[in-house]
């Protein structure tokens, strides 16, 4: 007597709760892994899931068991050539340790993958993003589904009733009139045949007339060819374009931590822009005392030495903008620096910004990566830039920790969204 139950529909994701507990428990190690992933990835690729490694010794569950050493005997299958009394040299490592069906994993790390949502969650946790911003940035956009006429195939939910009935009516009308004419002709023939007296032809004509009249009566109310369904097509959102200029000071005073902070800053801006615009271009400009446009690898990993001249970078950015992004592009500029510009440079840069770049750009953000020791001291660049805040599309912030980056964007979100 068999009791057969189909459980396929219910009870999915029974283990999600337990999986979450596991992730919560090993949060610290996972965050470490995520941090290194962020360091490795390209800006544009940030939003994927990723692989996390946790040391096996951290997640092992201890119990009383036998260790190496002591005397024991072990029975093995598959003897080829040994007889009692033979000696075998000891194999190194794990051979004499396995007695049961081990799962064959030999790595020292427990590797598993995070989904995209989990990865972004941890990334945002680090930055201490508030929830509203998280949903905004964490969303994936889907193309819109738009009505596009009618089709002859579809699902019953999309059946356009009135249109179907119209088609049916038209078909019936057409066929009925055709049949009516045939019937008329046959009737006339019948009448002439009767009048002429030919019994056979009359009977034949009568039979044909009957046939046509039956056909007329059997016209179906609805036929499959009448059915009409509402049609939908997927239409992508209209493409608005944005270009993001990343300016970074790569003189010797910028160490790895500061570069990591800068990278997170740029990532956040990029994520925000990709939500808003269909197409976002990235331009990387690094400068010491002269500026150069580079690709992302060199942007984050190259170290040069030299002084710091911000003006050169701003000039280059403006030139590129005029060359390649003159029409119809929304320009966002993000600058990261430690603020130590000398001489006339800060004043010149500020003036350049006010006159040339800020009017052409949608928004300009400046992040100063200052060491905590120099917190009290206001850097030269900072002092000059402060006057630009009044223009309205300029924001500046000092940060030496990841969680301080977000407040820069609070202004941005309020204005733009």
């Amino acid at each position: 007597m068999l009791h057969l139950i189909d459980r396929r529909e219910n009870g999915r994701g029974k283990s999600t709760g337990n999986r979450e507990r596991f992730l919560r428990r090993y949060k610290a190690q996972i965050q470490e892994s995520v941090k290194s992933l962020v360091g490795e990835r390209h800006l544009a690729d940030m939003e994927r899931g990723g692989e996390v490694r946790i040391l096996r010794k951290d997640i092992s569950e201890p119990s009383f068991g036998f260790g190496r050493g002591g005397d024991r005997e072990l029975v093995l299958p598959g003897n080829r050539e040994y007889v009692a009394g033979d000696t075998i040299p000891r194999p190194e490592g794990s051979r004499d340790g396995s007695t049961g069906g081990s799962d064959g994993e030999t790595q020292d790390a427990f590797v598993f993958s995070l989904s995209r949502e989990e990865f972004m969650q941890i990334f945002f946790d680090d930055l201490e993003l508030p929830n509203l911003a998280r949903t905004h940035l964490g969303r994936t956009e889907r193309p819109k589904s738009v009505r596009a006429g009618f089709a002859t195939t579809g699902v019953p939910a999309n059946l356009a009733v009135v249109r179907t009935l119209t088609q049916a009516f038209a078909r019936r009308r057409a066929l009925r009139s055709v049949l009516a004419r045939e019937a008329e002709a046959l009737e006339a023939e019948f009448a002439t045949a009767v009048a002429a007296g030919g019994a056979e032809t009359a009977a034949q004509t009568y039979a044909e007339l009957g046939h046509v009249q039956r056909r007329r009566a059997a016209l179906p109310f609805l036929d499959e060819s009448d059915l009409r369904y509402r049609n939908r097509v997927l239409r992508p959102e209209p493409i608005a374009r944005a270009v993001m200029f990343c300016l970074m000071d790569v003189s010797g005073s910028m160490d790895e931590d500061k570069k990591d902070l800068a990278k997170r800053f740029f990532t956040l801006l990029y994520l925000f822009l990709t939500r808003k615009y269909g197409e976002v271009d990235l331009v990387f400009i690094c400068h010491t005392d002269n500026a150069e446009e580079v690709d992302e690898e060199r942007f984050f990993h190259e170290t040069r030495s030299g002084g710091t001249v911000v003006f050169a970078a701003l000039e280059l950015a403006d030139r590129i903008r005029a060359d390649r992004y003159a029409s119809d592009w929304n320009v966002y500029v993000a600058q990261a620096s430690d603020g130590d510009a000398f001489g006339a440079d800060p004043a010149r840069s500020a003036r350049f910004l006010r006159e040339r770049l800020l009017p052409a750009a949608r928004y300009y953000t400046y992040l100063e990566l200052a060491a905590p020791e120099s917190w009290e001291r206001v850097s030269t660049l900072w002092a000059e830039y402060e006057s630009l805040v009044a223009t309205g599309n300029f924001a500046m912030r000092r940060a030496n920790e990841r969680m301080q980056i977000y407040p820069v964007f609070r202004e941005l979100f309020r204005k733009e969204s």
Binding site: L2, S63, G69, G100
Partner: protein
């Protein structure tokens, strides 16, 4: 008779028809089973089931999350195929079938799990003694609800601490012999009266004439508490821990009950799988004889079957230990052969079995043995030759391994004994017992590990002792003794 179906597709109606045919065949062979409940699941749900050892319900814990992740990774990378069956010991016996299986696989699973494993759960003495098949599911539902309530009331971290500690001690949280039931008042009084009567009968005035003996104070250990070493550490903690709250005691009890439920499975793995494999093989062959399944079915079936019972040699790269399916199936099949067509060697080794009725013999074997005793009783020389079993000796003070014995005249009995020992409880689980609880003093707990032949505990033992200290609340000491001498390894954790 014509085949029940052709091709790989299955549907619910077909499954019921196959089950009816298999049930009839099983009844022919005299298999006694619980009622069957078969559940069709997706591969995702199979991964869930794996993570919780096949139980449909369980209390939430991060280690199940870890298992789930590990299995999912292995499955995604193709390193591990999902078992096509999981079956749990309960009444009704629940078996899971994956929707992706072909009809052949579904039939194989039904024969294997619903009739093979099922009859084993119902018949074997260890299962009958230790698991209440009727009650386990309800108990699990209670356990889950209780754990979640505790989490709400006392916080997830506190509950996790207790559960982690209990999991660490799970191997030492089982009773291996049933405790005597407490006597009723009437029985207790009767026992006392019996004792007094016995004393009176044994009275002899001569004893009065012996000289006085000074009352020696007995050495502290023997009047200590507990009077005898306790092997069930979790039971001891649950009953006697001075600091645990009632809800914590209940959690310990839950883990203990779960461990007890799984206890027979570890000790009958080989027999259980062998029995189920033997019966799926026998039943399907009988169906083929009757014409209910065709040759195409048999080809696919045989491919699955041989995959399951492969035993790679010790030096092959695919070697992962002794395959319980292979050895178990071979043992039962060989037993059948000894009953039906014994040769001279079988008559010499198994005079009582040779020529007997194979069904009775197999049934007796299934009911009354566990892996270790089953091996000792029934492993034949022919099987040892077939598997080419040999024993190596790994001694600490020698820098080479020695071949102790092989599958020849001199070595059969020794190899058999060693293989059986390998499956014994003592060889798998270290002998750690509670020897002293200083109730009147510093409330410390002393555990003793009885070391045999120099085999030490792993380094993780220190972590387990730390867990136990957290549960116990006072100092916990672990001593290692060998041959009644304390051998140095003393781990202590101050409260």
């Amino acid at each position: 008779m014509s085949p029940l179906s052709q091709g790989a597709d299955w549907d619910f109606d077909l499954i019921e028809r196959y089950d009816a045919a298999i049930a009839q065949t099983a009844a022919e062979f005299g298999l006694d089973t619980y009622p069957n409940q078969v559940e069709i699941i997706t591969s995702e749900q199979m991964l869930d089931a794996y993570a919780m050892s096949g139980l449909p319900v369980g209390y939430p814990h991060w280690s199940y999350g870890k298992e789930f992740i590990r299995n999912e990774q292995a499955y995604r990378r193709g390193m591990q195929g999902l078992a096509y069956e999981i079956v749990i010991n309960s009444n009704p016996c629940i078996a899971y079938l994956m929707e992706e299986n072909t009809m052949v696989t579904q039939a194989l699973v039904i024969a294997h799990a619903c009739y093979g494993h099922n009859s084993f759960f119902k018949g074997n003495h260890l299962f009958r003694q230790w698991t209440a098949a009727d009650g386990i599911l309800d108990y699990l539902i209670f356990a889950r609800r209780y754990v979640m309530e505790c989490e709400e009331r006392h916080g997830a971290a506190a509950v996790e601490d207790v559960l982690d500690a209990c999991h660490a001690l799970m191997t030492h949280g089982v009773d291996r012999y049933p405790r005597p039931a407490p006597l009723t008042l009437k029985a207790e009084t009767a026992r006392l009266a019996d004792r007094v009567a016995h004393r009176e009968r044994q009275f002899n005035d001569l004893w009065r004439t012996l000289p006085e003996r000074s009352h020696q104070t007995q050495c502290g250990a023997s009047t200590g508490f507990p009077a005898d070493p306790q092997e069930n550490i979790l039971y001891f903690v649950e009953k006697y821990s001075p600091r645990l709250e009632p809800w914590q005691r209940e959690l310990v009890r839950i883990v203990r009950k779960l461990a007890q439920y799984f206890y027979p499975q570890a000790h009958t793995k080989l027999m259980n799988e062998g029995w189920a494999t033997f019966w799926h093989y026998t039943i399907v062959n009988r169906l083929h004889e009757k014409g209910l399944v065709d040759d195409a079915f048999m080809l696919e079936f045989l491919k699955s079957h041989t995959d399951v019972i492969t035993q790679p040699g010790f030096d092959s790269s695919a070697y992962a230990g002794l395959n319980p399916y292979a050895l178990g199936f071979a043992l039962f099949a060989d037993l059948r052969r000894i009953c039906e067509a014994p040769d001279a060697e079988d008559r010499e080794w198994f005079p009582n079995l040779a020529g007997s009725d194979w069904r009775t013999t197999l049934d007796f074997a299934m009911r009354n043995f566990k892996d270790e005793s089953f091996m000792v009783q029934y492993l034949s020389p022919r099987l040892m030759r077939e598997f080419r079993l040999f024993a190596i000796a790994d001694h600490e003070d020698e820098d080479v391994l020695t071949v102790d014995s092989i599958h020849d005249e001199h070595g059969y009995r020794r190899v058999r004994k060693l293989l059986a020992q390998q499956h014994a409880h003592e060889t798998r689980v270290p002998d750690v017992q509670v020897v002293r609880y200083d109730r009147d003093g510093d409330r410390s707990l002393t555990l003793r590990y009885v070391r045999q032949r120099g085999r030490p505990l792993t380094e993780a033992a220190a972590q387990v002792v730390a867990h136990l200290r957290r549960l116990w609340g006072f100092t916990v000491r672990l001593e290692s003794w060998e041959n009644d001498i304390c051998v140095g390894d003393v781990t202590e954790c101050r409260a």
